[in-house]
Subunit: 408 residues, 2 copies
């Protein structure tokens, strides 16, 4: 489409949030709204409640009526302030969504979410094109799973990783005080990034997590038991980080032996149950003859815990929202997705680039080989280097020198 | 015993930690150590590793060798820095423990823990008396369960309650974004205080937790299902807080239908498994015909999460440790436990009193009736008033005005 048409396009903007919430997803929302206020080609700033569902039901609010202080308060609040949805639109939904957007003279559409949301944005964009309706459709990246293609990392990951790291810092010390085997199940679906972030908790050489299992390596119950036994012999204790999405050598999720629910995108419902952790704990009790074995499933706290935010994550999430609006208000593109890029080298420097929707949609990104150790049960120093600046500073941990008293 | 003998007693001090860790238990330890350094009647300051176990095995460190900066770093670190233990001493253990204490010329013994630890302190004190060995035995109160008699509240509770409140603040917003039923299982054994702290998360009238079930009221699955259905009809969503220790009308723990392990004190092992939450979620799915039902068991994070501390809790924990040493260095008592007392009235004012070991040992405290609503499924404003200053300030939460756009 001609740059002139794109540049001169004026009309209303509609923004929505989709998929699993994060603690910084409202930063992206507010970043987009505040940026939109600067562009006179954007008239009304509308927000759809619960993503596509709000469009289909015309359940829409006027975000232009929110004051800057209200917007800033929401920006610092976890979870999707507009409400979210897990909905893969049917062909009929797409027609309906497009007709509603047209009815409200929406010429700027923004969808904040993960790869499923990028796909939805792409479908809506195609529907508009098919009907010769000029509309700009942009996807704003978000996911604690950190599994979006084209992105060095995604908004939401840093804060969730900070939660996981601080949880493991404390849990490692808890396990040190009352030794045994502790298994913690972490979110992340098919990607191991969030589970890997548990490694940031380590300070002393004997600190846990001692073993880290991620979906990028086939999980074997036999090897798992042998690994735990080995660590336990060395340290008389063992802290394990396990991804909810670990799979066996055939690609079958280990959790699926215990969990059966799926969401509307056909993804297996891996969260909201303690079944995987409990099953792994039972395995260790039975096969490794260790009596004190416990499991915790960190669950939804990882993505929604109030008051625990990575400052850099919040900043980048805000920037992703604002930059999407800048892209949309330019004359170059009528669609795209925001991607966080990072400069190579020691200094942490990131920026937001536009990428094609199809580059982000559907497929997911996995932990690169250089982040995984040879045994497939830990991360490498390269991962620590990658994740540390995204998560930011962690609490300081003290330990006694512990000068032993000679037996009397 | 004559005040003069007690006052003139000199010798070594030994301190240990027992039971479940908290994020402020090291504040009590460091408070005691720093106070002990001021008293010339205390010679060596020894720390036993893993409570009684360290005494039995003579696994003892010299805390006098730790610098103030090392001590302060440990004070701000979660979980028991000396290690902990869950051990009810046998009569043979008591004889052995006493002989080791005598061998190391321990005249000042401090045990940081809950009611089981108070009982242990009492037993050791009796053994010393039986043998005519002059020794001062003090218990320093600690438990996230907040279930110690004589105490308005206990060190560790405020920080754990802060974790629970912040978790519910975020989880309520997560549930608001993706509506359904969410059940969260909270620690606390037979006392409902920690579960009740979830109520501090509420800001807006429709905020969860919408239902709170505690061990002080008999739990009925039928009433639970009816309650959830009622809330769901009203709000199209429901967030539930459930104590791990809920019991049926016969006093039988609901969790015991799914969990069988017991610890050495004969207490049922209620933590470290997601079974109760999963079972309750299954009940709602089956009986209330609600499709999106999830459960999380907050688990060990509640007592050990790094970097999340109630400032007042940390301060009081430090004071409890220091005051125990002051009590022990006086001429009035050769034993006792520290209890947090609180002035009535609007201004929050607390202090530490000495109480008899037997007043704290064995028996536990429960939520008073005035903190529980008539239906037995929520707390009262009196509880909120009680808990708010102990937990301290919580994160600010923002919400859109949400001006609806008239359907086009």
């Amino acid at each position: 489409m001609a740059a002139k048409i794109l540049k001169q396009l004026t009309g209303n903007m509609l923004i929505a949030q989709s998929g699993g919430p994060t603690v910084v997803i409202n930063q992206s929302l507010v970043g987009a709204v505040l940026e939109a206020k600067k562009h006179k080609e954007i008239k009304k700033i509308l927000g759809s409640l619960h993503g596509l569902k709000g469009i289909l039901e015309e359940n829409i609010i006027d975000l232009g009526k929110e004051s800057t202080s209200e917007l800033e308060a929401v920006a610092n609040t976890p979870s999707s302030a507009l409400g979210s949805v897990r909905k893969k639109p049917t062909p009929e939904d797409c027609v309906k969504v497009f007709s509603v957007l047209q009815k409200y003279n929406v010429r700027f559409f923004f969808y904040i979410g993960g790869n499923d949301s990028a796909e939805t944005t792409h479908i809506i964009n195609e529907e508009a094109k098919k009907n010769g309706y000029v509309m700009k459709c942009f996807h704003i990246c978000k996911t604690i799973d950190n599994d979006l293609k084209e992105n060095d990392h995604t908004p939401g990951f840093g804060s969730a990783a900070k939660f996981v790291a601080q949880a493991f810092m404390g849990d490692n010390l808890d396990n040190r005080a009352l030794p045994g085997v502790k298994i913690n199940v972490i979110m992340g679906r098919g990607a191991g990034f969030l589970t890997a972030a548990s490694a940031l908790a380590r300070i002393y050489p004997d600190d846990g997590p001692h073993l880290i299992y991620i979906p990028e390596r086939a999980f074997s119950l036999e090897k798992f038991v042998a690994d735990v036994k080995g660590v336990f012999e060395k340290y008389k204790r063992c802290v394990v980080a396990v991804s909810e999405g670990i799979v066996d050598e055939t690609g079958e999720p280990i959790a699926s032996k215990f969990i059966s629910e799926v969401d509307s995108h056909g993804n297996k419902q891996l969260s909201g149950s303690g079944a995987l952790g409990d099953a792994l704990a039972k395995e260790i009790k039975g096969k490794a003859q260790i009596s004190r074995v416990r499991s915790d499933t960190f669950g939804y706290l990882q993505r929604s815990f109030a008051g625990l935010v990575s400052a850099i994550d919040a900043k980048e999430a805000r920037l992703a929202g604002a930059t999407a609006v800048k892209f949309a208000c330019g004359g170059k593109f009528d669609n795209g997705s925001t991607a966080i890029k990072r400069a190579p080298g020691k200094t942490y420097k990131t920026w937001i680039e536009r990428t094609e929707l199809r580059n982000v949609a559907k497929e997911t990104r996995h932990m690169p080989d250089e982040f995984i150790n040879a045994a497939g049960n830990d991360v490498t120093p390269a991962f620590i280097k990658y994740a540390t600046p995204i998560v930011g500073p962690l609490p300081k941990i003290g330990r006694f020198k512990g000068v032993k008293v000679t037996k009397a």
